[in-house]
């Protein structure tokens, strides 16, 4: 009594849903509809890109990382330094940022192949801290603690100047986000994406059905690093400034929180999480400037105790709800 | 003879796998039960369920008139369970003496009485768990359960994989513990002959339920039944 044939069922899962189109139209309309909010839209787009990059390794491949900011920061600094010293064109700067992060991702992927969650946690954390130390100590290049000054960006595609209102920046970030989103959406729906999920769910069985686990882990980690580098590059290009803050621990922790708010292993989780997190941060810090960290902390503790999946995916409230979270 | 253990319609397993279904058996005070059956029929699962180390889906277990199945694993030793696990699982980073003193409960059996019964252990008092031979580990596992001064000793394949002379020594010790000292015990074994000789009753499991229950002597006289239930036969 098969309702859908196997192929129809699989294709139906990866088909673009109308709701998605509505979302992206709204996203691209936002900078025009609410010009005053263009800057925060730009920030949300960048954080969303950073979040979906972490989702590739955390949500889809099951690798815990507390140092994803390393790639974000490297991409940022590479793009900024390139713009300052070589060529102000944003697109080429973006490519340089991505290339630098990809290279670091490839090298760093050797560290996450073996060991337990704790070792991966430590190694990724260590990488983030090393890069921050390097950026701090190579002050002749990076401007050290007070950051890189004088980063002037040329017009995008030679026509769209970066203006103070931030509308160009917002559209630039949104378009880059869309490009990477479509790319990652295809990857996660593809056979390759399925093998990553298999490794996440059961590494032993993934090996036992012929999946070369280590090369797939390297592939996923490098891809995630590249996308994180793009997000970092967008950050420094649209703000015209690069500082040690790009590598800060709280940035890696925040993006983890964003993913958890939006739900891991679901790409839109990173986007939804970024929107909620940024708006919450904006709202809370206006009330209690220094102490919004307390509310984020409380939110995290409650979220985990209640069970991550239950909170975000409303259909699990109605469903059997037998198993609290993934 | 008053009834010590009463198991009624027990079903249990690990996670969702249901290994035992509808198992009922009873044992009187001072008696020894031989629990037989091929591999994978649920012998170890039954012992582990009595010790509280499995997921019990249903049924009840009464020990000396008190409900055992509602107790947390660590409370079952106090209730009278002396567990000798299948893999022996002696504590690797503790010395032989510490393995005994760490869990000992007041009563007739003390570390010294264990050393008296197993001289080999007395010589190895200061050695770490990892430095013992298979036989010595088995004796320590039995001794460790004895110093709990339990009402019911649970021995899971105590003779498995041991040299014949060690098997003889362990059988002598088990005979002394159960026959002379009157301690009730359930002994799980694949090879029926050795354990039937020192048991009063026998239960044979097949595919998670009781296939046959009998007195030990009666079962020893039915080789063809034994072969059907335990051997390589249809």
């Amino acid at each position: 009594m098969q309702t859908l044939s196997a192929q129809a069922s699989l294709l139906q899962q990866s088909r673009i849903k109308p709701l998605e189109l509505v979302f992206w139209l709204l996203a691209f309309a936002a900078p025009v509809l609410t010009p005053s909010h263009a800057l925060i839209i730009n920030e949300i787009a960048i954080v969303a890109l950073f979040a979906i990059s972490l989702d590739i390794i955390l949500g889809y491949t099951g690798i815990v990382s507390l140092g994803h900011a390393a790639f974000f920061g490297l991409g940022g600094y590479a793009a900024a330094l390139f713009a300052k010293h070589v060529m102000p064109d944003p697109m080429v700067g973006l490519a340089v940022g991505i290339a630098a992060a990809t290279l670091l991702g490839l090298i760093a992927s050797l560290t996450i192949l073996r060991g337990s969650d704790l070792t991966r946690l430590m190694v990724t954390l260590g990488l983030g801290l090393i890069l921050m130390e390097l950026a701090n100590k190579l002050d002749w290049l990076t401007g050290g603690a007070d950051g890189l000054q004088g980063v002037v960006m040329g017009p995008i595609l030679g026509r769209f100047e970066f203006d103070l209102s931030g509308q160009t920046a917002a559209y630039y970030s949104l378009s880059v986000l869309l490009v990477f989103f479509v790319l990652l959406r295809r990857v996660t729906q593809s056979p390759l994406g399925a093998t990553l999920m298999a490794i996440r769910d059961n590494r032993l069985r993934a090996m036992s059905i012929g999946i070369p686990v280590n090369s797939r882990l390297t592939l996923a980690y490098t891809l995630a690093a590249a996308v994180a580098g793009a997000a970092g590059a967008l950050m420094t290009q649209t703000t015209g400034f690069a500082s040690l803050d790009l590598f800060e621990f709280h940035r890696s922790a925040d993006v983890l929180l964003i993913l958890v708010i939006g739900g891991t292993g679901w790409l839109y989780g990173g986007v939804a999480g970024a929107i909620v997190f940024k708006l919450m941060q904006d709202f809370l810090s206006s009330i209690t400037p220094q102490y919004w960290m307390f509310w984020i902390g409380l939110f995290l503790v409650v979220l985990v105790l209640v069970g991550r999946d239950r909170l975000i995916r409303p259909w699990t409230w109605l469903g059997t709800g037998r198993k609290g979270q993934s | 003879m008053s009834e010590l253990l009463h198991v009624d319609n027990l079903s249990a397993g690990y996670g969702e796998a249901v290994v035992l279904s509808g198992v009922s058996l009873s044992l009187d005070e001072g008696q020894t039960l031989a629990l037989l059956g091929r591999n994978g029929t649920g012998k170890t699962t039954l012992i582990n369920t009595l010790a509280g180390a499995t997921r019990q889906h249903g049924g009840s277990i009464m020990l000396g008139g008190r409900a055992l199945h509602t107790l947390a694993p660590y409370e079952r030793a106090a209730a009278g369970i002396g567990w000798v696990p299948q893999e022996r699982n002696i504590f690797k980073s503790l010395t032989v003496h510490e393995n005994l003193t760490a869990v000992a409960r007041p009563g007739k059996w003390t570390p010294d009485s264990v050393y008296a019964m197993f001289e080999r252990l007395a010589e190895r008092k200061g050695n770490l768990g990892t430095q013992l031979s298979g036989g010595e580990q088995q004796m320590l596992a039995v001794g460790r359960a004895l110093v709990l001064n339990p009402r019911l000793l649970l021995l899971d394949e105590p003779l498995e994989g041991l040299a014949p002379i060690i098997v003889e020594e362990l059988l002598r010790a088990l005979r002394r513990i159960t026959r002379e000292e009157g301690l009730s015990a359930i002994i799980v074994e694949q090879h029926p002959q050795a354990v039937l000789a020192i048991s009063d009753r026998a239960v044979v499991l097949d595919r998670g339920s009781v296939a046959h229950a009998d007195s030990a002597q009666a079962l020893q006289q039915k080789p063809e039944l034994l072969e059907h239930l335990l051997g390589v036969a249809r």
Binding site: P191, I209, G210 | R38, G40, Q190, Q193, V232
Partner: protein, 264 residues
């Protein structure tokens, strides 16, 4: 040691898998002691023996999880003793697990589509969707129907009944198009109600797949196997047809503990 070849199975007599003098030592302990075992094409061969006989170690040697101290493993004429586990799968040596090893957050359909794609070399495709290839979807439908998983194909694996999970466990191995299938206690822990479905499915495995079954359940062994090897203390005690093994006094001694066969 093995009986005369059946005339009608002349073609089938060709050996698909051959373990030659396999040895495995952990420190002083010899877990696998010079084991020779030949699996004919389309064989239904059972490997039995008491606990601690070394069956699991032997399986880990065949699948490459363990490297043997001595001896060779030949699969269809090729020496695969040094190949990594995932490469052996590529050559058709596939195993199932006694304790379910499944992809809990995926559905049976996604799981099988992944395995079939990986097996047909599409595993690295990153642009087309999982359901893109018609052949993959077709093969999935065959497997889903054969293993009675069609009506649960879109449910989360974690929520399936235990019997269905055991069926998926074997379906995954079949999706790897094995030439040699190592079935590790397929009916372990399956409640009575769901055993029949599993027994039929195992009986209906494709004729050209050579199956090595590790099982304690004698009903299953006798209804399934045409040849049997008895492993005791890591060494082969004897090999033969089920009837020969059942009648063999040495096997009785090992299982029932008469005389010298006990313990040791």
């Amino acid at each position: 040691m093995n009986s005369a070849l059946h005339p009608k199975a002349a073609l089938a007599s060709e050996t698909v898998l051959s373990a030659q003098g396999l040895e495995m030592r952990f420190g002083g302990i010899v877990a696998t002691n010079c084991v020779n075992l030949d699996l004919k094409k389309g064989a239904r061969h059972a490997l039995i023996g008491p606990n601690g006989a070394g069956k699991t170690t032997f399986i880990n040697l065949l699948t490459g999880v363990l490297q043997p101290s001595a001896g060779r493993i030949v699969l269809e004429g090729e020496d695969i003793s040094t190949l990594a586990p995932n490469e052996r799968v590529g050559r058709g040596m596939v195993r199932t697990f006694q304790i379910n090893q499944l992809f809990d957050s995926m559905t049976p359909l996604q799981t099988l589509a992944l395995v079939v794609s990986q097996r047909s070399g599409l595993g690295r495709r990153w642009w087309p969707s999982l359901g893109h290839s018609q052949q993959v979807a077709q093969r999935c439908e065959e497997l889903l129907t054969k293993f009675h998983l069609a009506e649960v194909m879109n449910q989360r694996t974690r929520e399936l009944a235990y019997g269905k999970r055991r069926l998926l466990e074997i379906a995954i191995a079949l999706a790897c198009e094995p030439r040699v299938l190592l079935l590790d206690e397929p009916v372990a822990g399956v409640p009575a109600g769901e055993r029949e479905e599993l027994l039929q499915t195992v009986a209906a495995l494709p004729a050209d797949v050579s199956v090595l079954l590790i099982e304690h359940d004698m009903d299953m062994v006798f209804s399934f196997a045409t040849r049997m090897t008895v492993l005791v203390n890591g060494a082969v005690l004897t090999e033969g047809t089920p009837q020969e093994i059942a009648a063999d006094p040495r096997v009785k001694a090992v299982y029932l503990g008469h005389g010298e066969g006990a313990g040791a």
